[in-house]
Every structure is written in C-alpha cells, then in structure tokens.
Symmetry: C2
Subunit: 107 residues, 2 copies
C-alpha cells in the first residue's frame, strides 16, 4: 500500500537493507516492531518492499519522534538482533519531505 501522508513538510526514514539467509526470529520481531511503531502518535505510515534489497520507508510528523523510536527499548534490542543475525548490511537515511505529488485515488 501507498502511505497516506499529510501535506509537507514531514519526515521520512529510508531503511535499505540486505538480509542474511533464513528467518531466525526475524519475522516475529519485524511484526512486533510494526505493531509498536504504529502506536506512536507522530508515526504517519510506512511502505515496504523486498526484492533482493529491502526498502522500508516510514513517515513521521516530527524528527524528535524518530529519535525517540530509535531509542525505544524493544526497538534497541531488535536493532542489536539485526546487526548480530538478520542483516548483512543496512543504511538508514533520515529525511525531510519538502514536497510531494501523486497520481490516482487519494494521492
């Protein structure tokens, strides 16, 4: 799904990753993180696709809340699991969305 986001400015976190083979607890942790992040008031939505490389973009009202989520305890434990088990490489890019436009229903 394409995330419904408000008028800019808002923030985006682009998380690009290469996974290790196998699951090893990854899917359960990812599902828990999806549930936790959805409960944060500043969280606006997320888009995700994996096809060799994985790209997850999350959208946020404020930059401060991005840092809060980074430091949230369960998320920190998941990040450590990511470095130890689930990811070969990843890159996180924190961005300010300055303008947007779209095509099709509601975009």
């Amino acid at each position: 799904m394409i995330a419904q986001t408000p008028r800019p400015p808002y923030y985006a976190v682009i998380f690009t990753s290469l996974r290790t083979p196998g699951d090893d607890g990854y899917a359960a942790t990812a599902a828990l993180m999806d549930e936790l992040v959805a409960g944060i008031p500043s969280f606006l939505g997320m888009e995700s696709a994996r096809d060799g490389v994985g790209i997850t973009v999350s959208y946020w009202e404020s930059e401060a809340s991005i840092l809060e989520w980074k430091r949230q305890t369960d998320h920190r434990i998941a990040q450590q699991g990511g470095r130890e088990k689930w990811y070969l490489q990843y890159k996180v890019r924190v961005c300010k969305v300055e303008r947007d436009y779209g095509f099709g229903n509601h975009l």
Copy 2:
C-alpha cells in the same frame, strides 16, 4: 544493492507505486530511464524493490537537477505512459537527507 552516497546533505526522491497488470512496454521504458538518469552528473544512485508495492529511491546532489530530470523530454513521455498504462497509483516525495548511518561494509 544499497546505494553509495556521500555525506549529507543530499536529496532523495521516493517513488512509491502500484502497477497495472502486464508489461505493455514498461520494462523497456524503465530500462531506458535507468540508463538516461545514470548519465546525469548530479545523480548519485538508486535503490529499487517491488513486492506488491514498488519503491524506488533515487539520490541526488542537488534539488535543481531533480526538477531538470522531471522535465527531460524522454522522461516526460515515460511519465505520460505511466499515467496512461503502467500505474494504478503513484506518489513522489522529494526529500532532503539530513543525516544517515549504516551497518556493514562501506556503509
């Protein structure tokens, strides 16, 4: 692949889309666009995955060059094909990358 990008600030264009069924010239046009965009000096790299939703993130040195690419003639023709044939919906978000960090080789 994860794009190699310089230290922030730089720009990102997040293109999220839902495709129509079938190819109908899409793959050939996409390949041509990839070739053309790679020739633009300000273009830094691109990451792409499709898995239901498609997410393509392109990285740029300057915002001005993003607008130039949007207006490039072949690209405008491709955009029109996109609206007429290839996409049900899409959203384009133009962002300034303010900070980044990574894990693994060269990130």
